[in-house]
Symmetry: C2
Subunit: 431 residues, 2 copies
């Protein structure tokens, strides 16, 4: 008989139990930080209305959405697809349930999203994202932008990553800047150029801008603008030096300074900067935007990002829901951490005690013994196997820190020996 | 502008944050018990090869599998679909990774599966299943069947369900019984009749059997067989009374007695019986089969079930991997528990302390204050809002147990008051 191909389909991360245990610990660490910052957990369906998902996708994303074929038995249903992020289902959720929610709605979603992008090493088609969002009704205070960044930063802290840098900007600054220079008509192009500026040589950026036919002077001003980065004081000073009257521009500068200074007040003096190269994609964001990098591992790119959006649910509701949120892409981050040897604790055994009955004669006793060790809070594997004792011990050593053999002698005398599989040391075990 | 439909598509469970918190607690309780019994967590992709999923589906399941359309950018990929259970991907996983696994492989999967069945109240098209499995290589000791049942039972214990009853049978008994009566040719029909026997009147069962043209005597014997239920001694005595020589039959009786007696030894004297009505579907299982019900809520049906299968990965590997496993269908169980008012603790607030800055003048201080309360292990929401104090307090009371207002006076004096939103009581709060 022909045997089937058993590898997971491409773009899927499938871990061995040991790696999975570390991955799950990371996920729990992140969830724990989010919850301790007062974010409420929700879960939206994996499958959602195609109408909803495609309405908000746009651009490349649309080509990456997995459509789902309705089954014969559920043919009555709406057209459907797999969610590609947490934000679109969140918008639907807020519009649907708003009368049962309290605002500001501090919410977290940790789950799998799906994007069928071109196959590429380190890019996944099914991946965990760990999101936090704060949604206001009508208004939302700017301090919440800082709260989101601080929460995400604390979560990353828990993963034992090397030193990080949070780069922050504000889309109002860029929008006001383009207004002042009368560049609204090529706003999208300039946004895209800034967004890609770091991936190419400076000459290339200048060439792109020159192609826009906006005149040498404005090319120079844009180049000057995107080079602005530094601490709150530096960035504020350089931006104010343009002398722009644009309300939007100056509001953006104020908000950026507020966010940065709040971060400095909470210990991020040396690890948060303002940086005009941060744009975070073409549309969607309207205020604060940020991303976190590992300066010693710049090649990794952004490991966490997000920003402020003015109207989350405009497609579903007449009410205004401004929000700010951010996300850690855990599947990709975990892959990169493995690649770069940043994962700690991978030798940790998943089980504390393996209890190994010598044979089946004292079955009831062995089950009870294992249960009593569990009651002490330990993870206990009771090893039932027809194999020889040597084979059972070999298995036990592969999953557990300690092994206890229960033979006739041990059971009669009530004296047990725990063997440390790491050191070989044997010590009496008292139940 | 036309506003889009924001309800989740039918058959999807979407919970409010309060309900979600309880659901997540249940899920964590189950995972915790599984891990303490030495089961290793793995996670298989949601999307798998259509070839793999359809090979094992069969019958009604095939009509319920969601096929996924490959995206433009990932058109190179294999045909794919959404997993409908954890067992099929587990079989693929074991065959794929067997050289990196230790056997017996004690494994758990807790995640979402997908079945597009006909819409029906209390049936979900996307649902959590919480599985445990023990997979052997070549052989697997019968004690593992009891270990799976005990683990699942302890997990259900943690959900504070009313008294439960585990009903156990063994497919070898039925197979041997049909051999002895020369009923192999109508084995499938009889299996199906027994599987449905409880949902209809006894006359109906007799009529179905009579339709098979197997003669009055054999109809009577089958009816006698399926009525057998009771404790290990009773069931063994009644089954042995048939006087059958079939090795399969007697092996099944021995195994059933071993499993039941092991359960009795661990405190399930009054809550585990042998019951010949338990079949668990048409194919797949080859030994022990079991299901758990709530006797005071029989209408709910089985809340947990599973069994022994002889060859998990026969489609993918030449090696033999016998296994035993079981599953708690948490999404459906949670829905039923809500319906029947069995959910406790639904008034629990997700946040411990809401810290409410009077205004933004002492921003840095307030962020620090909240962080220090978090460091004590509490879940803390820092409430930034442009609203009036009364509105902020109203919000705070909706999510938190206690509220602390940080105004000029409090900050200057360093004396803080925590208000218990439940009782209205105000007590000094010492940082």
């Amino acid at each position: 008989m022909k045997k089937l191909n058993t590898s997971p389909i491409s773009g899927m991360q499938e871990l061995l139990p040991k790696e999975q245990a570390i991955f799950n610990n990371y996920k729990e660490t992140i969830r724990e930080v989010y919850r301790h910052h007062g974010f409420l957990e929700i879960e939206t369906p994996t499958i959602d209305r195609a109408e909803i998902l495609f309405a908000k996708a746009g651009g490349d994303t649309e080509k990456q959405i997995y459509k789902v074929i309705k089954t014969e038995e559920a043919a009555d249903d709406a057209d459907q697809a797999l969610r590609f992020d947490h934000t679109v289902p969140l918008a639907r959720y807020v519009a649907e349930h708003e009368s049962n929610l309290s605002f500001p709605f501090k919410v977290t979603q940790v789950g799998r999203n799906f994007r069928g992008e071109r196959a590429q090493k380190g890019r996944f088609r099914e991946f965990y994202q760990c999101d936090v969002d704060i949604i206001g009704r009508n208004t939302l205070a700017a301090e919440n932008d800082a709260e989101v960044i601080l929460t995400l930063n604390e979560a990353l802290e828990g993963l034992n990553l090397p030193e990080r840098l949070v780069r922050v900007s504000n889309r109002k600054i860029l929008a006001g800047f383009l207004d002042e220079l009368n560049l609204q008509e090529v706003a999208k192009e300039i946004l895209s150029i800034i967004d890609h500026a770091e991936k190419v040589e400076p000459e290339k950026v200048k060439a792109w801008l020159t192609e826009l036919n906006i005149g040498e002077e404005r090319v120079a001003q844009v180049l000057e603008f995107i080079e602005i980065s530094g601490d709150a004081d530096t960035v504020t000073r350089k931006l104010k030096a343009f002398g722009f009257a644009s309300e939007k521009f100056n509001e953006g500068v104020e908000e950026l300074a507020l966010v940065l200074r709040t971060l400095y007040g909470q210990g991020l003096h040396d690890s948060a900067i303002g940086d005009m190269k941060i744009v975070r994609g073409l549309d969607y964001y309207t205020g604060t935007v940020f991303e976190t990098i590992i300066p010693s591992r710049k090649e990794i790119g952004s490991i966490c990002s997000g920003g402020r959006y003015e109207n989350l649910a405009e497609l579903y509701s007449d009410q205004k829901f401004p929000g700010v949120g951010g996300s850690i892409g855990l599947t990709r981050l975990f892959f990169l951490m493995s690649e770069f040897g940043m994962i700690k604790g991978d030798s940790e055994k998943p089980v504390d005690y393996a209890i190994i009955p010598f044979d089946s004669t004292e079955r009831e006793y062995c089950f009870k013994f294992a249960e009593r060790v569990r009651e002490k809070g330990f993870k206990v594997d009771l090893v039932w196997s027809d194999k020889k004792l040597g084979d059972k011990l070999k298995y036990a050593a592969s999953v557990a820190k300690y092994g206890i053999v229960l033979g006739e002698n041990e059971i009669r005398s009530g004296e047990f020996i725990a063997k440390d599989f790491e050191t070989g040391e044997q010590t009496p075990f008292v139940l």
